[in-house]
């Protein structure tokens, strides 16, 4: 049981000078389920990507079955028997189960010219039987349930004679019954001596299925503990255990009676949002916490009209609003700053001025279509000055600005529009400390000026520092709401954020 399969020691990895991993270690034994936990951005994925050859470590060493190895690419990892099952399915939906499992290593016949479909199906049914799975090898993957698809992925990994299986949030899309099926398979694999790395945010699951737990935080290794000897609370406190930004909370509390700016009632979207209701008041910063995939961004996009809703009502200034697209949301005075700045925020190839005035170009026109370039330049110059954007000129293309400065320009886009309701989704993601505190200050000033702000963040200290009130989401539901007073703690939020229903 205690024989070591993988040992990673002193792993250092940095991206563009930022340390993603600092002197991390991780060890996996034969026939063990080892959980890897930590907040978003703690370095779990990076660590596993180093192990599977996606990234090259800067320093450190990896011992595999007792020998030091180099893993230059994913193929090498696969050859050694290290496989990763990703959150997003990597199966070809229009191929059969057997075709998917044997993709790239199809049995051939007749001088290797023809595929031996029969042999392939035969081998597949053996694999399926070994795992006690009742799936026909010739079924199309698209016809399978998500859980069955995941099983197929696992079998595909096993078919490479994998010794190490990394599962990234394997239960995220599964129902309870399906989770049971998955656990059965995990138990079988463990019995065969396969080492399993289990990445999950679901504390209850960890307790049930894992043998040991390694906690990471901010790119550092914290501790490895035996599951049986540890409580969930202990693990959560290890995960969030950094120093709190102690900020003055006395004026955090906002008058409950101030005017309601935005109210949403029973927002529903199949498999994504379930009966989401909350109110945003004037001059308030409402923090939205939760783990990745909890539905926070989805709520924001739904309010902004970027994604369709199945049902639910949105009230702006107490009046019911019909929002069928972002252009209508903007008319109601709602602005949205996307979490994915590069893909959904910036026009990287366009200049600062264009980006800063994009939401307002329509206002700076003569005769409805003639652009008033002069006014636009004035406005963008003003934004650059107010937000202290570091750029040589307003004609600089956005792609040459740093992340923080890009973000300021995009925020500036909504400031020129003078929106009453601002939804900031991860406003400080990928931004250096200096720019971060400037953005914090900006948010506070905006709230003080009477703007209402929804701030989605995965960084709990940020939520606790800025919000007047916090709602916590898990799996598309609001699982908790708390005033940000002295009683609000990171632990409390994490408990709500991992509070699965059903």
């Amino acid at each position: 049981m205690s024989e070591s399969l993988v040992q990673m020691e002193g792993i250092v990895k940095s991206f563009a000078g930022v340390h993603a991993l600092k002197d991390c270690r991780f060890d996996l034994r034969l026939g063990e389920v080892h959980a890897l936990v930590g907040e978003n951005g703690a370095g779990k994925s990076t660590m596993m990507k180093v192990l599977t050859g996606v990234y090259q470590m800067d320093e450190g060493r990896i011992l595999y079955q007792g020998e030091e190895v180099r893993i230059p690419d994913t193929r090498a990892a696969q050859k050694k028997g290290i496989s990763m099952i990703h959150q997003e399915m990597n199966l070809a939906a229009d191929l059969t189960v057997a075709q998917n499992i044997f993709i790239g290593k199809e049995p051939r016949k007749a001088l290797k010219l023809f595929l031996d479909e029969k042999e392939m199906n035969r081998q597949t049914s053996i694999l399926l039987r070994q795992m006690n799975l009742d799936i026909d090898p010739t079924t199309l993957v698209s016809k399978l349930t998500v859980a069955k698809q995941q099983m197929v992925e696992i079998i595909k990994a096993i078919s490479y004679d994998s010794q190490v299986l990394i599962m990234d949030e394997p239960t995220a899309a599964l129902s309870d019954a399906e989770i049971e099926e998955l656990f059965k398979i995990i138990v079988q694999l463990r019995a065969k001596g396969v080492g399993i790395v289990y990445i999950s945010h679901r504390m209850a699951e960890l307790k049930r299925i894992t043998d040991r737990i390694t906690v990471m935080r901010d790119g550092s290794y914290i501790d490895t503990v035996a599951t049986a000897d540890t409580s969930i609370d202990k693990i959560i406190s290890m995960m969030v255990g950094r120093e709190l930004f102690q900020s003055d909370k006395t004026n955090r509390l906002k008058d409950e009676t101030s005017e309601s700016m935005l109210e949403v009632r029973n927002l529903n979207r199949r498999n994504v949002l379930h009966n989401v209701s909350f109110t945003l008041r004037k001059g308030e910063i409402l923090g939205v916490a939760g783990l990745v995939g909890a539905g926070r961004t989805e709520v924001a996009r739904a309010i902004f009209g970027a994604d369709p809703l199945d049902s639910g009502e949105i009230y702006v200034h107490g009046r019911k609003a019909r929002i069928n697209g972002p252009h209508q949301a903007v008319k109601h005075g709602i602005g949205y700053l996307s979490e994915d700045r590069k893909h959904f925020g910036c026009l990287l190839e366009m200049d600062v001025s264009t980006n800063a005035t994009l939401a307002t170009t329509g206002r700076f026109t003569r005769a409805g279509f003639w652009m008033n370039e002069k006014r636009m330049n004035e406005v963008s110059t003003q934004i650059v000055e107010e937000l202290k954007v570091k750029t040589p000129s307003i004609k600089q293309k956005l792609k040459f600005l740093s992340g923080g400065n890009q973000q300021k320009v995009i925020i500036g886009k909504w400031l020129t529009r003078d929106c009453d309701i601002l939804i900031f989704d991860e406003p400080t993601r990928g931004i250096d400390i200096g720019a971060k505190s400037e953005i914090y200050k900006l948010l506070e000033n905006l709230a003080a000026a009477g703007k209402s702000i929804i701030m989605i963040s995965s960084e709990l200290p940020e939520i606790l520092r800025l919000s007047h009130r916090i709602i916590v989401m898990c799996e598309g539901r609001i699982t908790g709401e708390l005033m940000n007073d002295h009683l609000a703690t990171q632990e409390q939020i994490m408990t709500y954020a991992t509070d699965r229903i059903g």
Binding site: C346, L358, K390, L401, K413
Partner: protein
């Protein structure tokens, strides 16, 4: 990133970008010089005018295509919509006997309507541009045949119509300066296109959509409607090309025009507009179209067999796109 590095990168880039513009123009000049040396008959006023005249139709089509290509879309229907516009103009003028200006407006509206329909199917029904405009290409082709009864429509009774392409307003003003109107119209349309693209809100949104459609949508811009507007603009340009062609041939010929869309797209690409959208200039397209016709004309004057002419044009397209890729890699 501190301020100094930003500044350095900027000037660095400005030089690169300027170089690219010069490069395309430079290759045009080089081609002209090359052909002038290779053949005594190339560099004559009349031949240069001939080149410009032969650029006009494809050039105007290319100008229109530039708009949709900048959005990251494509319009495969411009060739046959051009034909349909020409045929409709013919119907209005010679069969219905409407005055020439009304007929021209009818032709432009035909192009605009086709563009609008393409835009509508793309933006509202979510059909990919390639497929939607492929369908429009066939619809326009069929309609042109149906409406004309598969017969050419002649404008022989309307001499004034021919003047649109082949008359010379400039020649009347300045004796000896006999530049055909078609060339004049080509340049006017280019200037209008350039203004539209750089000075108006349509142009701004055009680039924004091509640069990052989702970000543009999330900035509260009604991307769908603007796309329809942009395809309609392309349609109007296509209509102009149709009228230029009809008046130059004095005929609306229902089976011409197929394949012109590819030449137009080639001109746009040679001119440095990126097929992935967000980048491009009208000046580039004008130069791209000129490069195509200088090349064809020059090779013809040198009596290079036609088969080889096509091969050469193919290589030029490859070169142009590769130059663009190189530039982007360095940028």
């Amino acid at each position: 990133m501190n301020k100094t590095t930003v500044v350095e990168q900027k000037s660095h880039f400005a030089i690169k970008s300027g170089l690219q513009q010069l490069l395309v123009f430079g290759s045009l000049i080089l081609l002209v010089i090359f052909f002038s040396i290779a053949s005594d008959n190339f560099f004559h006023f009349s031949n240069l005018i001939g080149i410009l005249l032969s650029t006009a139709v494809i050039g105007v089509l290319a100008l229109g295509s530039t708009f949709v290509i900048i959005t990251g879309g494509i319009d495969l229907s411009v060739g046959t919509v051009m034909t349909l516009s020409a045929v409709m103009t013919g119907v209005f003028i010679t069969i219905w006997g409407l005055p020439i200006p009304i007929g021209i407006i009818g032709g432009l509206l035909t192009g605009a309507l086709c563009g609008f329909l393409s835009g509508f199917t793309i933006a509202r029904l979510g059909i990919p541009p390639f497929i939607a405009t492929l369908a429009m290409m066939m619809i326009a082709k069929g309609l042109a045949l149906v409406i004309s009864g598969a017969k050419p429509i002649y404008f022989t009774d309307n001499e004034a119509f021919m003047e649109i392409s082949l008359g010379s307003v400039l020649g009347d003003l300045i004796p000896g300066f006999d530049i055909p109107n078609a060339v004049l119209i080509f340049f006017i349309v280019a200037i209008l296109g350039s203004i539209l693209l750089s000075r108006t809100i349509v142009g701004r949104y055009n680039f924004a959509i091509g640069s990052n459609e989702e970000a543009t949508r999330l900035s509260g811009i009604n991307v769908r409607n603007w796309k329809i507007v942009i395809y309609t603009i392309t349609g109007v340009f296509t209509g102009i090309a149709g009228i230029l062609m009809a008046s130059r041939l004095n005929t609306a010929h229902p089976s011409l025009g197929a394949g012109y869309e590819l030449e137009a797209i080639a001109a746009v690409i040679i001119g440095g507009t990126s097929l992935s959208g967000g980048k491009g200039t009208i000046l580039g397209t004008v130069i791209g179209a000129l490069i195509m016709s200088v090349l064809t004309n020059g090779l013809r004057i040198m009596s290079v067999p036609q088969e080889w002419q096509t091969v050469v044009v193919g290589f030029v397209i490859l070169l142009a796109v590769y130059a663009d890729i190189l530039r982007r890699r360095k940028a």
